[in-house]
Subunit: 233 residues, 2 copies
DNA sequence: AAACTGTCAATTGTCGACAATAGTCAAAAT
DNA sequence: ATTTTGACTATTGTCGACAATTGACAGTTT
């Protein structure tokens, strides 16, 4: 997507990164939300944040606006910015959208991927197994996201990838909220195999079925755990 | 989606709307982009805009940030904000995403809509016919968007609706760019009927097929016209 | 005691200012 | 003639300041 006008004339130097304060701040706040360091409904105190970042309030506010239309924070006039709250319904919506998105992405990908891409996916599944062996649950969750992101990327549709990335942040936040309660890591790795098989076989129906199962299970589990968590508290 | 904490205590007064400068500015700029009043790659001159709005630059910049993560404008450090350019590829991506989104939305909707919703859709198609008779092409395009938005809304998934709205802005911008070259208005109205029929019959396969056809045709037409336009200029 | 009212500190929304940078245009050099 | 250099201007990125508003708390009334 839009590789922009690199003013580079083909020389051997790489452009030094422009600091871009706002983007940096937005990423940090976004990560903090995804990782649960900023909790739902928590208010973003502009002054405090700006002091932590060592800047003035202006870039912090702009970063907050960025996150706002991404849905990560909501603004209430004269009251400020708040970390958006996640309800079980929200999570269901998020996973349902992801389901539709990935079904479509995979279908598109099926038509254009070659051996290289399939190998990459296979490697990624290997990684999931490896992490299951090592017991690195956190890292496995992250690499799971990477797998599905690859699928979206292989659709060749930049817009789909962008929506996936937005969703991923929310899913991460949801999982973080729930805590590390999760399925058996080996089973998680395994459930990716049917997807790969269907891709290899170029079988659309099987692919849809495998993905549908995979994501619906994740959805139901996350929603269930989330509801249970809320009932307790 | 988070109806927020209305401080209203159930009295008979409705809360007066807080001006919310930033949102207002963002909407105006967004509309200007969708309507082609701000052309692709055009620079957003902050000073000029702030003067037009009668404000300072701060709220304009925040509005631009809002639009940025929505993808409507891009920011280049130290160079400012620019209206994003649309390539034929971008448009194809947009319509392909819309296709996947709406297929899924419709499938979800199928499970939960009742007679009231179906009637509403039927009415909307009536409106399309009426506008075709009147020759109101512009308005028909808009009401076409409304029809598909209803479909997304009936999915009951707020997140899907949000993505659709984002896409709609881009599609509008694309159509505006192309100009009013378009299909026969009556045919456009007609192609909505199979969708309605499938919904009435609660037939998922037919529904998918009808939608797929409908949207794919729109996609191919828009992309074709867009490419043709670019070749000429 | 409960509800209401007035006061006050904390925080936001917005502004104008200023340094740093990018683009422009003409003059100089090759 | 094309390219390079060097000022100059327009514009951005960021800051600190200030008025307006909110939420909290205490005092007052019923």
């Amino acid at each position: 997507m839009a590789e922009e006008d690199k003013t580079s004339t083909g020389g051997s130097f790489s452009p030094l990164q422009t600091t871009d304060l706002v983007q940096q701040i937005a990423r940090q706040i976004g990560d903090a939300i995804a990782e649960g360091r900023l909790k739902p409904a928590e208010r973003l105190n502009e002054l405090r944040l700006s002091q932590e970042f060592g800047t003035s309030r202006a870039p912090v506010r702009e970063a907050a606006r960025l996150l706002e239309s991404q849905g990560l924070v909501v603004s209430s006039p004269r009251r400020g910015f708040f970390v958006r709250t996640l309800s079980a319904e929200d999570l269901r919506d998020i996973y349902d959208l992801r389901l539709g998105l990935e079904l479509h992405a995979a279908e598109l990908a099926l038509e254009k991927i070659g051996d290289a891409e399939i190998s990459a996916l296979e490697e990624q599944i290997q990684r999931l197994y490896q992490l299951a062996d090592e017991g690195s649950v956190e890292e496995q969750i992250f690499q799971d996201f990477v797998f599905h992101r690859m699928l979206c990327k292989f659709s060749g549709n930049a817009r789909i990838l962008k929506v996936y990335d937005d969703l991923a942040t929310d899913m991460r936040a949801g999982i973080t909220l729930i805590g590390k309660l999760y399925d058996d890591p080996h089973r998680i790795a395994e459930t990716h195999l049917p997807i790969l098989d269907a891709l290899k076989a170029r079988d659309v129906a099987k692919l849809r079925e495998a993905l549908h199962f995979h994501i619906a299970v994740a959805r139901d589990q996350v929603v269930l755990l989330f509801e249970r968590m809320n009932d307790v508290s």
